[in-house]
Symmetry: C2
Subunit: 614 residues, 2 copies
Amino acid sequence: MAIDYATIRTTLDFYLNDWLEIDRLCERPRFADHGPETFSGVLDLCERLAAERFEPFNRLVDTEEPHFDGTHVSLPAATELACKAYAESGMLAAAQDADIGGMQLPCTVEMAANSFFSAASIGIRGYSMLTVANANLLMAHGSERQRRVFAHPQFEGRWFGTMNLSEPQAGSSLSDIATRAVPDGDGYASDPLGPRYRISGRKMWISGGEHAMGENIVHLVLAKIPDPEGRLPAGTKGISLFIVPKFNVDADGRLTGERNDVSLAGLNHKLGYRGTVNTLLNYGEGGGAVGYRVGDAGFGLTYMFHMMNEARIHVGLGAAMLGMAGYLESRDYAFQRPQGRPVKLGRGAGKDAAQEPVLIARHPDVRRMLVAQRSYGEGAVALCLLCSRLVDEEHTGTGGAALEAKALLEMLTPIAKSWPSEWCLEANSMAIQVLGGYGYTRDFPVEQHWRDNRLNMIHEGTHGIQAMDLLGRKVVMENGEPFRLLLRRMRETVAAASELDRLLPLASELGGALLRLEHATVLAWASGSAPEALANATAYLRAFGHVVMGWIWLDVARAAIQAGNSERRSSGFVEAKIVAARYFIFHELPLVEAWLRPVEQCDRIWLDLPAEAV
Amino acid sequence: MAIDYATIRTTLDFYLNDWLEIDRLCERPRFADHGPETFSGVLDLCERLAAERFEPFNRLVDTEEPHFDGTHVSLPAATELACKAYAESGMLAAAQDADIGGMQLPCTVEMAANSFFSAASIGIRGYSMLTVANANLLMAHGSERQRRVFAHPQFEGRWFGTMNLSEPQAGSSLSDIATRAVPDGDGYASDPLGPRYRISGRKMWISGGEHAMGENIVHLVLAKIPDPEGRLPAGTKGISLFIVPKFNVDADGRLTGERNDVSLAGLNHKLGYRGTVNTLLNYGEGGGAVGYRVGDAGFGLTYMFHMMNEARIHVGLGAAMLGMAGYLESRDYAFQRPQGRPVKLGRGAGKDAAQEPVLIARHPDVRRMLVAQRSYGEGAVALCLLCSRLVDEEHTGTGGAALEAKALLEMLTPIAKSWPSEWCLEANSMAIQVLGGYGYTRDFPVEQHWRDNRLNMIHEGTHGIQAMDLLGRKVVMENGEPFRLLLRRMRETVAAASELDRLLPLASELGGALLRLEHATVLAWASGSAPEALANATAYLRAFGHVVMGWIWLDVARAAIQAGNSERRSSGFVEAKIVAARYFIFHELPLVEAWLRPVEQCDRIWLDLPAEAV
């Protein structure tokens, strides 16, 4: 059974055209050469590539996981072919300026187009995502020559890129990294490629850290520059960012033929996401890897977060598309598998065995699992596309609108990262359940989706980190103004949806949840003490996420009804959106109240706990 | 890192001695030869066997999954050695009469002792569980000779046993099985081993269906006896039960040297639980497998459910122990891994990088994940042991008490099966999260726990089936009397806990949830129509399960305080139980209200759904 790309496409088209109205972006100078046809052409191309080059090999890259023989890392040939086809499509430079060979696409369209690859094979997709993120960072913060030498070959698909943050002893805690960068001789500051250092240390969890694809790998490495006494500065403010190529290059980016002092210490053998090789890298075992500083010393984490925020939306969209893939697979199955009979009318749960078996899609509990999956998957896709639309607004909108977009994006990023990671994993578990015993076998893809998706709550900032970011930073930043802006936007949706008879009860339900969330936020910070406020941050994150998703679904349902009224969408399409919104708001949103209770009460349970009670 | 068996043992000892007061069982004639020392000796033995023979091979049986070369199924040698050691311990006959070589142990002690094996390697444990369940069924419903020929060799560990219910086209829907049993010649009724039939058909998802361990495999097979026109009777009432040995035997149970007509069609390659071989079996490809009917024709499902109800508690306990294993592993990790710093006092979520990193067990969110895991794991163990205590009461109690125990057991069985399967899976996911990236690798056991545990919501009656059983049958049977009995018992606990200052707020919370559950049950059935009542059965199951677990925790906390007052338990031990109860009742129980909403409203969403909205 192949993925039903048509359903994905219809969903994306509706979000892009009817909900986010991306045609308006074409009025802006940057996107003036684009129109519905070019956008549609990109989606067509990516859908086809994903179906032909990615999906058929998704199980293969899981079973034939990356292998290290002590000298080389080997990947299945299909991985390299898929990456080549992706590069040839031009998608690596989809959002770049035309004058460097880019398509100058809006981020919204780029994200939507890339979502096909995540559904088809998240493991193979990893390489291009990392490469583009790496090159984007260099375009934003690198020197002109760094951009030309290190970023452009990545957009061309000749080189690959990685991000090196974690170390074995420091995962989420970047302030504790111990990788050192020492100025490389007296002339270190005059290297045309940037201030030159020698890097030494160990980097853990590095995706794409070693393989034989492409001509080179550009590692972006966080490290600390020791003070004259050789001590590393404490905290995150002492972190700088370095470009460390796998193979050394001259000032014009030509390979010198020398290998840099970066070596593979080992591969991590993962539960899922096996298509993306994940490595432990040793820097400087032979005296120090050559690295070129990006920007100013001490700003490494700031630069990295430029990339990280985009990466977090990508993680969310990847999780969302795994959710969609599982939903579509289990829906197909439910409409093909006959089993059981409807419950008989009257008292007692009996069934009439004389009747023919029905398709399992008839059973209420199977329907529940399918609609819940859709509400998670499609809802998460909507949230991530909204975030990418905010990126476009931040970059190409006018003053006030751009600033508002930036503020909303910062508010929503922890949700876009965490909510799909948590709930589309749950969706994947439901897909297994719909298939029953078959879902538990490796003959169907749903078990792999579930394993692959489990990573998303961990990488690019764990769930707990997102919770601290949201309650500890985002809702209180700028005196809470961005939070109030988000609340206003959500209330505008409540008001608009209240005008529609079918959405009025849903709008009223969301309105209540908004009040509760706002109130809980005040109560959480009532003591003014961060440890108390943040003690129940994860419960707050869950509640906040569900409120945001209630808002998304209410607004999506509103847009669907509007599109139906103007006959741009069928009544069946509109009905499906209303059902998902109704399910989410009536069956899921009430959970918010329960999650917020310990937040409102500033429950000190986790602070006062004796060690033996853990 | 090995499993911390000492914590498991302390937990079991407390439940058995302080909470369930099993010493009182020794006053009964059946258990008169037992006392605290013999019970303790059995637990010692099983703890040691699990640690030495099961746990060291748990990863091995996952990576070297059963292999079929077209002729033989091969398992790792460790599996056979572990099964032999288990058989030699006498645990296969732990609950059997002394006069057939059994230990005549209470079911409660048997279950508690076996729980070590589930924690150590659920995959290896599968073989003995199935074998005992098979033999138990024969002891209850087989003829004297069937018991001697087919059950006794299983208790001795010479033969293995399986259960054959599902077929490829009929998983949960047993009324649709198509395996046939035709009387084997005119003298079929006079075979000393029981009425002899020829069996043909295909059986799917058969655990332990083929391997080379032991001398024989006893398959218990559900099949239908065709009418004179060759038609199979409709529904479950047409199902009979047959003994089909892998190797034929004579009237005294000696192997004839002939292989019966049962063959392996293939192995199922699973997501987890790989230590237990799972098969598709073909019966009667060579003309019909010899099978001996158990009991009366048409009562096959009734007999099978005798076994199934016990199996469901075993599934629950297995899920619970996987939850415990993940909890203990992640707790060990959290007390060894330094990372990050406490949040600083005052506004803002900043941390003081100049301080030394702390153990992650200090972080509130890690504590939350550990306590939540403990509340799920230990709570689920308590529930399953309570059920086994009810089995003992049903079998050895006096008239009224035995009948009440039977009624409570029937009420609680769907919860004992479903609740640990759902929430200890969630616990296993939290264990992964505590370990972060390391938890996602196969270097730690937590990812395997999570994969192994995912089966438990599927086999022995899916989650949805448990929900229909609970709301469609259990709460309404006997005019609702067993349900009211359970409510009375829970209210007695509320009353008793209300006497204790520290538990009063918890008791009051549970009291509210009980009212809500009782009311929702009435509302669900208000229309008197089964399809409407059952439309939200799974939401009801979740709510019911959490209420039961709230009750369990309140009662466990009460018993802990009592044990603390009489100085049988340390204050740290008591505190840990109160913390878990407090977490569960204040942070989890409030979810009940949200889950019950669609039940109370008899939300018709799943009944009225157009196909395109699924």
